[in-house]
Symmetry: none
Subunit: 212 residues, 4 copies
DNA sequence: TATGAATGAGTATTCATTCAT
DNA sequence: TATGAATGAATACTCATTCAT
């Protein structure tokens, strides 16, 4: 970011305060219904200061989204064991995603934003592509090994990601209520079955096996 | 609806013109970005007339949503054979939903609306409940027959509905590209496998069996 | 103007009210210092109505300027006798301009606006060109008759127009104080001498001559 | 100026940097459209520093204007030969002004500023008065000698100064294009003719005569 | 029914200026 | 001197909704 302002330590702190306040308010009231003045009031600073740290309201939103996405990618990457079979890796990624989304509910609630704005839509789209590509690649690998039916790998990638976000969203909304560990495992099972048509190996065994 | 205004024949036509124009514009630009004056301009009437037919902008939106939902329910109901086993019925409902959503893409694109607005959220939620209840009931039935793993039926209902909408959305966005019949069948397979952990019976056999 | 709104008679009246109020306020406080809300308040209408009649603040200004310019052109054209010699015609145009500007001081005070804005600058420039061309042509004609020294006609055109606006501006500002008739004649004399290097024929004689 | 801050050598340098940057930007974008932060950025200093050197934005502008005006006065004074006749002296002053303005175009472009602001108007007016007084005095002298028609000397002073600035402005804008020497002489001729109604003595002869 | 006019609350953004360090 | 941070007043423009005719 060549045009990013350099901030002092104190400045970075203020910026964080604004981001935190914004996240909170966006979550509670939604993006559109949150005024910049609200954010500043919540952060305890004057309205003008907002523009010292962010050029526009949208840019703050984008920063929030990018931060979160990066963390999600890290969580997914950390969960996927390099030497596991592709279906297992997909499962691991899916479970990690569900866990991450649950832990960061407020962040993800953010994304239920009207996609009208082109700039906004771009921000929201840009990041999912990396994960989508990974999943597609793993699906193809699994198909080569006869683990997943032959069909457009994109289809299965959409299925996996759609499942993760549907379940997470439902959990967030209270439509399914259960401990997060249970949810993650159920989603993992769901995805595995949907991909392979076979009941997955029970989690305990899996754990033992993959560590052995 | 007792409070619904009675309109002359010409009036109903005007109303339809407004609905059609709105559907088009909402789809193209989103709900928030479509002004009432745009709708009226597109329909070729003066702005004031809008309020003769709809009390608010939201109410027009609600009417659009309800109309569509009713039709979807009908399509689902028509597709689910009363005497089929519960998993098959779920599958039939899912396939019908995918088909319906594909045929009425614009309607469904509408639903990608900021969910923040409470009134809006209500409109959007109210309708999915009927189908959700049905699916939940069918899941429970299937679980009783040992076809689906034991877990909160709500979880599976969410899974089914999430799959339908994820795939439909991806199809709408061009992220999966295939003939609608193929898509519907793949989704049916996906849902069946996810629920039962078993590869579904090939479509041709199914067709023969269920008709026989 | 294809995109011009059609207004009812009452609408046109309102528009005029806004224009009048704006002219008044622009004159008193300047363009930049006049808020749209001031204009509306002065016209006794709600702020939003402004935008029913004008797309922007600038556009109202442009309309004001164009109106005035058209009138000035008419005054100039009416004053220049077709069969008079070129220098006389220039003089007649200059005198008419001075008179017109004096009568419409408020209008012309408007033009002392910061030229920063490109759009604004265009509006201000576009109109003077017609008159400039006319004057240039008359100068060339006069040069052909040996009445004006040989040099770039543009130079003399600038001189004439500059004189008119300098004297008018000074008069407006109170730096020269005299009856408008006297001012107009003095300017006419000034311009004539500057062009020809000859003392002009006294006004009374001129009148008689040109009519005879 | 008793209230002028004393600056170190480095301080004076900084101040000059700011003045130079401001002059440049004012010329390019106009006074209103130039932000203090722009000036500081162009000068490569932090925004806060501006106020170490200037109490307000306006004061910087005033300083710029005064500097220029002083130099102009000097140029005019140097050009006007004490023993020449009044019309010649006016002519000499006018020619010197044209030359000076051409050499310092950016400075003078500055003056096309919205005159609305009272404080600004004062700054702009205050200085022209000295020259105006001088010209007025010379005109009166010339009238006493029968060289210039009898009329309010202020009128002729306005005429002279208006001519200088109109031609300079037109030259700046590219509306008259010629070498500066030629322009200066033409303006001198124009003014002389306008004042006296007589073709001026050719320049070469004049030069010889006045020096003799 | 239908129109054009009218309303007015609501909000992102700018920028000169001040301040703490 | 010099910096980055902080302030807050000021304002054009939008748009759902209402109204007179």
């Amino acid at each position: 970011m060549s045009d990013a302002r350099r901030h002092t330590e104190q400045g970075e702190e203020r910026k964080q305060q604004l981001l935190t306040a914004a996240e909170q308010l966006f979550t509670e009231r939604g993006y559109g219904a949150t005024r910049i003045s609200d954010i500043c009031a919540a952060a305890g600073v004057a309205k003008g200061l907002f523009y010292w740290y962010f050029p526009t309201k949208e840019s703050l939103f984008a920063e929030l989204v990018r931060t979160m996405r990066l963390a999600l990618r890290r969580a997914q990457a950390a969960a996927m064991q390099p030497d596991a079979d592709p279906v297992t890796r997909i499962r691991q990624g899916a479970e990690a995603s569900v866990r991450f989304m649950a832990e960061h509910q407020p962040y993800f609630a953010l994304l239920d934003v009207e996609r009208t704005d082109d700039a906004m839509a771009d921000v929201l789209k840009e990041g999912s592509d990396v994960y989508a590509r990974d999943v597609r690649r793993l699906v193809a690998e699994a198909q080569a090994q006869g683990l997943v039916p032959d069909a457009d790998p994109s289809f299965y990638a959409v299925g996996v990601m759609g499942a993760v976000s549907s379940f997470s969203h439902a959990h967030r909304m209270g439509r399914v209520q259960m401990p997060i560990d249970e949810l993650a495992q159920l989603v993992g099972d769901w995805v595995t079955r949907a991909l392979t048509g076979r009941a997955p190996i029970p989690a305990t065994d899996r754990g033992a096996a993959s560590l052995g």
